[in-house]
Symmetry: C2
Subunit: 181 residues, 2 copies
């Protein structure tokens, strides 16, 4: 399959870092023969500002952990979209939180664009805090050969605080089952 | 101060990744004008095998997130010591869990070597699970100008599961107050 680069981005407080950790661990622990490296950048503006995490996956050892040409870009804020859309490779795949991101011409290079109302899905569960995991569920269902639902839900059970696990698993399912109109 | 590279390493289950996240966030959020990038690698052998996390700190934007010449190497397992000691720079600083790591000639290039009984310190609190944070407390007290105790303890309160916060704060203090004989 070769090297795959995925970036999750949004604003501070959306739980972007968690998505990288869940995906990185799920791939390595449960997908045989795959390595992954997760990188998270923090700037002085982290609190409330832009937040991003990269996951690089490969079947060989990963020497260069930074994503340079994104195969997948999953974005939950306008600021993060503007900042990172130049890094999406031509023919890459774009996932946007449709109520938080306004697309422009820069999105044209994507082979596919998915628009997901992740925050609205989360709100049906009582809190927009689940939007990140709803997005992850959708991404899992709409990417091929990266990571299985089983691997991700297993890691979620281990990594997410006990009292939030159940609602996050529901958010994941709802994201997974969401069909773009 | 220039670029600073720190690696934490040990075996799976020691909570190595948490150390990188705590340090990375503490530096960025509470140390004015500093950026940080945290990278965590997962191999197929992650579960129980070697685990490592790098934190790179700089006052300018960090383009290359991977540590290449470690200024500080904090190591909690023999396997991780053997694997990564070649990356410690000449004149760098080495922190080892003294009951889990056997030093050899490769450590000679270090300017300072600290040996900390982090696991024993943790056991006085009822669980060796606190060894990572005891180590972090010692590192905080024995490095200059990287991160303050206040910044780290603030992030610990936010990031660590509520029921474990108190014991981890004690472990941090005990590590901080430990004096090498």
């Amino acid at each position: 399959m070769g090297r795959i680069e995925i970036r999750f981005a949004g604003f501070g407080g959306q739980g972007i870092g968690l998505l990288g950790r869940l995906l990185g661990e799920a791939v390595s622990l449960y997908e045989e023969g795959k390595n992954s490296v997760m990188t998270q950048s923090y700037g002085p503006e982290s609190r409330g500002g832009a937040s991003s995490t990269d996951v690089v996956i490969d079947t060989i050892e990963i020497d260069y952990p930074k994503a340079t040409e994104l195969d997948y870009f999953v974005v939950l804020s306008e600021e993060a979209y503007q900042k990172y859309i130049p890094k999406l490779k031509k023919g890459g795949i774009l996932f946007v939180e449709e109520d938080l991101v306004t697309l422009d011409d820069q999105a044209n290079k994507a082979k596919k664009i998915f628009k997901i109302p992740a925050t609205k899905i989360a709100e049906t569960l009582g809190s927009r805090l689940f939007a990140n995991i709803a997005m992850l569920g959708f991404v899992c269902a709409n990417t091929e050969g990266i990571v299985s639902e089983e691997a991700l839900t297993q890691v979620m059970k281990e990594k997410i605080k006990a009292k939030y696990v159940e609602k996050n698993l529901i958010a994941f399912q709802k994201g997974k089952e969401y069909k773009q109109e």
